[in-house]
């Protein structure tokens, strides 16, 4: 466990240092670099993107995912494109429809009896996300496909939560977020994680323990 947290801390620091990327509102304002990280025992992702317009961002992601029994391991390095398809701004709410696309190299190992076979494939990662947010309520649903020859993972995530209270713009706002996510052909379990989210302007952090008693941390920072 100590090794795991050490790796999380090192990766977090690395992400902040190299302008790497992150996960929730997946695109900043025009000209910004958004860095994101999502770390748990079986899912470790670090990414960044650069917003060339207020609706388009290009970036890079490094993702390590594995099954619960560790028989299936995947390492993806991909270039990504994020498109804000539509945004609805209201006085007290904002909702967005996002499109994701990525293409990259997938490496991994698969157990065949006592033998472990390694592979290297091209992977495509299209996806969509819808989110709705007020100053007190948050909801997001994400569906992403991870496709390579003989490999089909469908990732689905639903997040909902509320803020304990409103804060001034420059104060830290705490939220309670519950996420349920599932990746088929990787795990038979639905991972459910209650997380404490803290937002302070350009910094965003979430941490929690999932239903397998495994810690998880998400971070985002905008440059």
């Amino acid at each position: 466990m100590n090794t795991f947290f050490s790796r999380v801390l090192i990766l977090s620091g690395l992400i902040l240092f190299i302008n790497s990327s992150a996960y929730s509102a997946p695109l900043g304002y025009q000209g910004s670099v958004m860095t994101m990280g999502d770390f748990s025992r079986n899912w470790r992702e670090a990414s960044f993107n650069y917003a060339v317009t207020n609706r388009d961002a290009y970036g890079f992601t490094h993702l390590e995912m594995r099954g619960d029994d560790h028989d299936e391991e995947r390492i993806l390095d991909a270039v990504t494109y994020t498109r804000l398809l539509s945004r609805w701004n209201q006085p007290d709410s904002q909702s967005n429809l996002w499109l994701f696309f990525g293409v990259g190299s997938l490496q991994g190992a698969r157990a065949h009896g006592n033998e472990e076979r390694h592979f290297d494939k091209v992977m495509l990662t299209p996806g969509v996300q819808f989110d709705y947010e007020t100053r007190r309520v948050y909801f997001a649903v994400t569906h992403k496909l991870y496709r390579a020859s003989d490999i089909n993972h469908d990732f689905t995530s639903v997040r909902a939560g509320f803020s304990f209270y409103e804060t001034d713009y420059d104060k830290t706002q705490p939220w309670l977020i519950l996420e349920s996510r599932y990746t088929n052909h990787l795990s038979d379990k639905v991972e459910i994680t209650p997380m404490l989210r803290l937002i302070n302007k350009r910094f965003f952090i979430e941490g929690g323990i999932n239903n397998d008693a495994q810690p998880r941390i998400n971070i985002m920072y905008t440059f």
């Binding site: 509102a25 007290d92 904002q94 001034d168 713009y169 937002i199 910094f203």
Partner: protein
């Protein structure tokens, strides 16, 4: 009596400050989260005409205090807010400083 004098002095000071302030008050839709809205602050602060910026999510307000003698067109600020991902629904000129506007909203 001393308190009364102090209050009068403070009120006169604030009136004096506000008389010289040159501020735009923008009503902005979609500002619900500081993590997202900080793009507005950064973009507006980067303008050479800007002295300071105040964002209030609850009041849907972005207040821009301009430097002495400076002006920004409504089209310019509307475009900047739009580029940050938000919609301006109203713009009002004010002679109040950001400190006065903030204190009024804090009441």
């Amino acid at each position: 009596m001393k308190k009364l004098i102090a209050i009068l002095f403070l009120a006169l000071s604030m009136t004096s400050i506000s008389a010289f302030a040159n501020t735009l008050k923008l009503t902005v839709n979609g500002m619900v989260c500081a993590f997202c809205a900080q793009g507005i602050e950064k973009k507006v602060k980067a303008l050479p005409e800007t002295k300071d910026v105040y964002v209030n999510l609850k009041a849907h307000l972005v207040a821009i205090e301009l430097k002495d003698g400076q002006k920004i067109s409504n089209d310019t600020v509307t475009r900047i807010i739009k580029d940050a991902g938000y919609d301006v629904t109203a713009i009002e000129e004010s002679s109040h400083s950001l400190a006065v506007i903030k204190s009024e909203l804090d009441k």
